[in-house]
């Protein structure tokens, strides 16, 4: 290249830089409005809607189409299309019978209510046309009990027996308030016995050819790209039979790309909408935005075993020093609710008393009570994604007010999960999603879960006792009191620093009707119609 040309091109590069920069600045003034306008006018949501099909778009691909071979949210969505459980959670997250027509709880020899007699609906048809019987249920639950991925949802069942073709008897280890919730979990969904029997020779049969009795039949899976489903014509429950014939399930990991796909009409429904494009989508009259506060609780988790975090004053100081409003603003673009308790809001047993709100002065008082030198505190906050990194960024700045120099490290999911389960950490940004308070408390705080899901490593016998008591209390009113007591105790102990409950942000074309999302993030595609 000659010198002259290079010089010329260099000058052009600099010119371009300047022009684009000034362009950015120029856009600046009306940025918000123009963005909204272009969303509303230039791109009407694409071609005419195909009334027979709904294109759903999601961020993560399911690892598996089996019901018991994964514990992924992405897989749960798909399982809910193809399969059913004996029970299901209704719109308010209460368990109600699904495949089961009626059930009775009986007392065992010890007088405890631990025997469950369940009777299936008559004539439930699997996708292959065969009729579901008690044998299928027994085989499915036995299979689930042997599957490590969903083991925690099968532990309470000790015995599974067939009574007659439609009836099953389950025995739990003592009274179990969580059994119906557990049976609503995808891990315990019902597969045909005929398929389970073939597992020995064909390990992949449940993944390659999933057959359930659910509202939609599996058609095909283009890995990494999309899945297709078609309505199950013989769905057992006429009232809840699917209304739209086909579902195309597309995987688009990038948030902004999902938004563009919806606005250009390529997709009809986004399960996880990028919070950055919310403002723009809300201005688009062709799009309906659904914002539902989730029951997913997110926090800065602290290893309670490591000094000085074993000191309650240090924990309370950090908790009071975090500006949760700012965390929500930066991490979630303001689309979430700030945490007000050690347990999630919106569940049976919520309780906010004893939880300190953001208050720097109070935080400093706690630090003074502790009496140590804040500069000696080593806190490394592990983050496994961008949202967590942004939250940690705010906390890092907040803690500097107390003289604590916290660090942030990024880890991929595998490392993060290993380090946190093993206790090789001082802190991390994490969260827990569950549909009801008992499994939340058990998972997050029960001392027997230290080493797996109890990452604070809190070991408090009084709390353990309350949690166990709640799971054995079948009366809802009684149970609520026990759960509140547990939450109050937790607020006093301050084992970690709850930050927020994010919103579930789903968006879809305005023509799509009857959409609904539960606080647990579940939606019911079979109810949708154009």
């Amino acid at each position: 290249m000659s010198k002259k040309t290079r010089l010329l091109s260099l000058a052009l590069v600099l010119l371009l830089c300047l022009s684009i920069f000034s362009g950015c600045g120029g856009d600046g003034g009306g940025g918000g409005e123009t963005g909204g306008d272009s969303g509303g006018t230039s791109k009407k949501t694409g071609p005419a809607v195909d009334k027979d099909t709904v294109v759903i778009c999601t961020a993560d691909e399911t690892p598996s189409l089996t019901t018991a071979g994964h514990n992924a949210v992405a897989g749960d969505y798909v399982n809910k299309l193809t399969h059913n459980g004996l029970f299901r959670l209704d719109r308010d997250l209460n368990p109600i019978p699904d495949l089961v027509a009626e059930y009775n709880v009986l007392k065992d020899d010890k007088g405890e209510e631990s025997i469950w007699e369940l009777k299936l609906h008559e004539g439930i048809k699997f996708h292959d046309g065969s009729v579901m019987t008690a044998d299928d249920v027994v085989a499915s639950l036995e299979h689930a009990k042997q599957s490590p991925d969903i083991q925690s949802y099968t532990q309470s069942i000790v015995k599974i027996e067939k009574i007659d073709d439609l009836s099953i008897r389950l025995t739990t280890d003592g009274p179990s308030a969580s059994l119906m919730y557990d049976l609503s979990h995808h891990g315990n969904y019902i597969n045909p016995k005929a398929q389970l029997d073939k597992l020995a020779e064909d390990k992949e049969i449940l993944n390659n050819n999933p057959i359930g009795a659910g509202p939609y039949k599996f058609v095909e899976w283009n890995r990494g790209e999309q899945l297709k489903f078609t309505a199950h014509e013989e769905y057992f429950n006429a009232e809840r039979a699917p209304k739209i014939k086909n579902i195309v399930w597309r995987i688009i990991p990038e948030g902004s790309s999902r938004t563009i796909a919806l606005e250009s009409g390529d997709v009809d429904y986004i399960i996880e909408t990028d919070s950055n494009s919310l403002e723009q989508l809300e201005k688009n009259s062709d799009v309906t935005v659904m914002k539902v506060p989730s029951v997913s609780h997110n926090w800065l988790c602290i290893n309670n075993e490591k000094a000085p975090f074993d000191d309650i004053n240090v924990r309370k100081a950090i908790q009071a020093a975090i500006n949760k409003e700012d965390v929500v603003t930066v991490a979630l673009n303001g689309t979430g609710i700030i945490a007000e308790s050690q347990t999630p809001t919106g569940m049976l047993g919520e309780y906010t008393e004893g939880f300190d709100a953001y208050n720097v002065e109070l935080a400093k008082e706690y630090m003074a009570k502790w009496g140590g030198d804040p500069a000696t505190i080593e806190l490394d906050m592990i983050c496994s994604n961008d949202t967590k990194r942004r939250a940690a960024g705010v906390i890092q700045d907040n803690l500097r007010e107390l003289g604590i120099e916290a660090t942030i490290s990024s880890m991929d999911l595998a490392t993060y999960l290993s380090q946190t389960a093993d206790g090789n950490f001082t802190g991390f940004i994490g969260g827990y999603t569950s549909n009801e308070m008992m499994s939340f408390l058990k998972g997050v705080y029960l001392s027997s879960n230290i080493g797996s899901s109890n990452k604070t490593r809190l070991n408090d016998p009084a709390l353990d006792e309350l949690i166990i008591k709640a799971t054995q209390t079948l009366d809802q009113g009684e149970r609520e009191k026990v759960l509140q007591e547990a939450t109050k105790l937790l607020n006093d102990l301050c084992p970690q620093m709850p930050l927020y409950q994010d919103n579930i942000l789903s968006t879809h074309k305005a023509e799509l009707k009857n959409t609904f999302i539960t606080a647990g993030g579940t939606f019911f595609a079979q109810e949708w119609e154009w």
């Binding site: 290249m1 052009l12 230039s42 690892p63 992924a72 925690s152 992949e204 790209e225 999309q226 999960l417």
Partner: protein
């Protein structure tokens, strides 16, 4: 010649085992347990122990590798930790996308680069030359994913000409192909220009000119064919860059290809899948290098002589 090809192909075998062992070692020694990654926050210690046993993770690393290598010899890439299905299935499903992406990148790069390089050389030191080389300089210096994001914002979001994600039609590959091919385009344009310049100065071109051929004819009939030889080589060598670049491009454009699979699998410590993908990349890379060498020998008899 055939002997040479066979020798090169045979040499790939130890390299492949070396590569797989190296990557296996790196990922196995890294913190992060595949079983915990699969079971997530709610995995109980018993479930983790059971899954580790199922996946064979409790054996010493060398034992695990030899088991893997033994299967590899039989052409079996093993089972994915995450999906529990065969790795080959995961990879085969994604090869077409990466192939289409790489091809469209090469096509776009070549279509743009060669005219650019020729114009720059023929009109040396003019504004055309400056403009062409300016584009080439940008191509070399722009981060590929930023270019991708800019293209998405402009052509998918604002103008709506192309889809923002997916791989269902040729349209899906225009933007990613351009983003990925831009860097290669720059290299190809620069080499075309400099080899064109070199050829134009040769004696036979002067001879042809002196015989009264028009400048354009000289360029087309004499200069171009000779100048394109290095261009072909550089294009071939760009394939390695394109394969690595597909990782970022597929991430930006949500394309279901090998590049994206590899990132997810690294993050989830799905070691068999990572190994499978890297082996596919390595084979592709080595085969293309071999093809480039052969092509080179084909067009340059002096090199051909060395092989026999």
């Amino acid at each position: 010649m055939w002997k040479y090809i066979l020798k090169r192909l045979l040499y790939m075998i130890p390299v492949l085992f070396g590569v797989s062992f190296l990557v296996f070692l790196i990922l196995s020694l890294a913190p992060g347990d595949p079983a915990k990654a699969i079971l997530g926050d709610q995995g109980t210690p018993e479930a983790i122990a059971q899954l580790r046993e199922e996946l064979g993770l409790n054996d010493p690393i060398l034992v695990q590798y030899f088991r893997y290598a033994k299967n590899l010899v039989r052409g079996d890439l093993g089972m994915s930790y995450k999906t529990k299905g065969p790795v080959s299935k995961e990879i085969i499903a994604r090869v077409p996308t990466t192939l289409k992406l790489t091809l469209s990148a090469i096509i776009i790069a070549v279509i743009v680069a060669i005219p650019l390089g020729i114009i720059a050389a023929v009109k040396q030191n003019t504004i055309f030359d400056g403009l062409s080389m300016f584009i080439a300089l940008i191509g070399i210096s722009i981060p590929i994913f930023w270019l991708g994001l800019l293209l998405l914002a402009q052509f998918a979001q604002k103008l709506g000409w192309f889809p923002a994600a997916g791989a269902d039609s040729w349209k899906s590959f225009v933007l990613p192909g351009f983003a990925l091919g831009f860097h290669s385009m720059a290299s190809i344009a620069r080499i075309t220009r400099s080899s064109m310049l070199e050829v134009i100065r040769q004696d036979y071109i002067r001879t042809a000119r002196s015989k009264g051929m028009t400048y354009n004819n000289v360029v087309r009939k004499h200069a171009l064919p000779n100048a394109l030889i290095p261009t072909i080589t550089v294009t071939g060598l760009q394939v390695g860059y394109l394969l690595a670049g597909s990782v970022l491009t597929e991430t930006v454009f949500s394309l279901p290809g090998i590049g994206r699979l590899i990132i997810y699998s690294i993050q989830g410590r799905d070691i068999p899948v990572v190994l499978g993908c890297i082996l596919v990349f390595t084979i592709a890379f080595s085969v293309v290098n071999l093809l480039v060498d052969l092509l080179y020998a084909y067009v340059d008899p002096r090199i051909k002589a060395q092989y026999s």
